[in-house]
Amino acid sequence: MSIILVGLNHRTAPVEVRERLAFNETMLTPALRTLVDSEGVSEAMIVSTCNRVEIVAASSMDSEPSLQQVCRFLHEFHHLPGLVYKEHLYTHADKLAVRHLFRVASSLDSMVLGESQVLGQVKTAYSKAQEVGTIGKVLNYLLNRTFNVAKRIRTETEIGSASTSVSSVAIELTKKIFDRLDNKRVLLVGAGEMTELAARYLVNEGVTQFLICNRTPERAAELCEKFGGEVIDFSKLKFELPRADIVVCSTGASDYIITRADCKRALEVRRYRPIFFIDISVPRNIEPSVGGLDNIFLFDIDDLESVVGENLKQRQKEADKAESIVEKEVEAFFEKLDVIEIGPTITALKEHLTEIALSEFERTRHKLGDLTPEQEQAIKQHLLGSLVNKFMHPLITTLREGSRNGEGSNIVELYHEVYDLKDRIAGLGDRRSGIKDRRM
């Protein structure tokens, strides 16, 4: 049994290649079916996003031919001649495959380190494959571990905690100052693209009250229609300032529109309730010394960008911690996987041998004459039981050793053939899960 992974991402392939090899919603079901119908592949799932395609599969063949097969599948399914995009693909088997999947789900492999969407995308891919019925024991275990690792990394490191875009940093700062935003009034100065974007973010955070101020009132009215609120005459900006809790400023003006004196007065009128200024215009439109006033917080575009830079640095530091968690978890995964792999075989073997012993006992039972229930019990339990155990001992030892050396699946297969355990193991699975396995 081997776990294999074939994929491409934003680093290995440009968008023209990624879009040729991506799977959309409707392609997924036939793709998964085709995959598990190919030789050796018993389980499969496909993660396909705008930045990556990852095909994860469990195969009963050796990893090398299986990887080749999946590469071929990826091209054939997208009707591409030969293996034209081969150099854009990476192929991983076993440890490397598991490690790669752990890193992807924990967003250590993402364009923006520590972003949180990718975990959701892996989860969706997993449930899609479950729905189609291409998830078996191995991938089920693998994906459960993957989600655990991703969660562990989220809680034990700070990788996802700091914002990495100017807008989200601005929103986060707003939340540091105000506990809730739904009862706050936002003043938009300038009605350009940037302020519109900011307004959209703020609406998402529950803001409903906007004051919109622009040199050309028509454009302000347009924004007003989109987000609600009231238009303010540009000349009255100073007088409306006290009504705003948050001010987002982005205009083409070449000097300060809001001065320190304006803010001082505004604060007095507001009885010193705090105001948060975001000045994303270049050149700046709010006098920088405003930031020195108590209860006023002023951030310009450079401040926001330097916070973003700091946060990215911070994430990089946390990523090192996360990598070492991944390494540990990969080791732990394979230890446990061995047990999953050989456990059912041992149980089935024991059942099989015990059945033989008991049926032989029943056949010779009449020749033994009268036995007390205690005697019969002693023969069944002690004599036959320990015989079975003795016979099994070398078999189990070989299996355990083999599994430690990576030969586990070969030996398991050998036993299955010699003792004809296939049906019995399938039965075990049914009994354990209580449902019939759809595949396998």
Binding site: E158, Y272, R273
Partner: protein, 272 residues
Amino acid sequence: MKELLVLALAFYLVALIQAGLVFFQKPRLPFAITLVSSLSGFLLHTAALIIRGKQVERCPIALQPELLLFLGWSLAAYCLTAFIWNREQILANYVFPLAFLSTLIGVILPLPPVSPLGLRVGGTVLFPIHVTMVLFAYTAFFVTFVTGLIYLFQERQLKLKKFKAILGRFPALDTCDSISYRSMSIGFILLTVGIVTGIIWSGQRYGVYWHGDPIEIATMLTWVNYMFMIHYRVAAGWRGRRAAIVSIVGFAFIIISLAGLKYLGRVHVFVG
């Protein structure tokens, strides 16, 4: 009674560990465990105080160890209320270590079986009211103090544009400011009641209302400080940084009056 308190401390230890984990940004214990264990600790603590009261046949807040035990109890009560009501764990996590420390010192200090004061103050209900109210007020002011510190720290970070992930763990400035103001108002009312009952009690007992004791002066300064703060907040909208600084100064007076109980007091002195 000591055994109960030691047991209570053992339970409090869980919440203390939680506070440490939060501070050092490690994964936290499950909320339910913290809650159940600090609640158990609190019940044992309460039982111990009641037993002590029965033993000495008076309100058990006259001697210094008793005061500390009571202060620890009321701080723990605050934390539990915060835990249960709005899961405002973050603040409780800063208050809790002090609850623990106060109780711990109270347990360590030798506790005389029956105090001579017990006989002296037994006659009137005013004395226990005086002490309880003042201590409750101090608990409230401590909360104001902690939120003030958090406010100042965060405000500095924001003004210096040093916005680190750690800030995410503190409540918003707005929240700090309103918690601070609310607990300051409550504390101020309690302190007023405490001072008035103290003065009346003193008048009944000694025939003198004001002793000029350093403790009394420190307490009056505390009162005046908070009164000004509340006045300016209502009248002139003082809030934010200034309010935070005043709440910290006010707490310094409280520390002086508490520490002074041992070294400076003349009337506010404890035998034992």
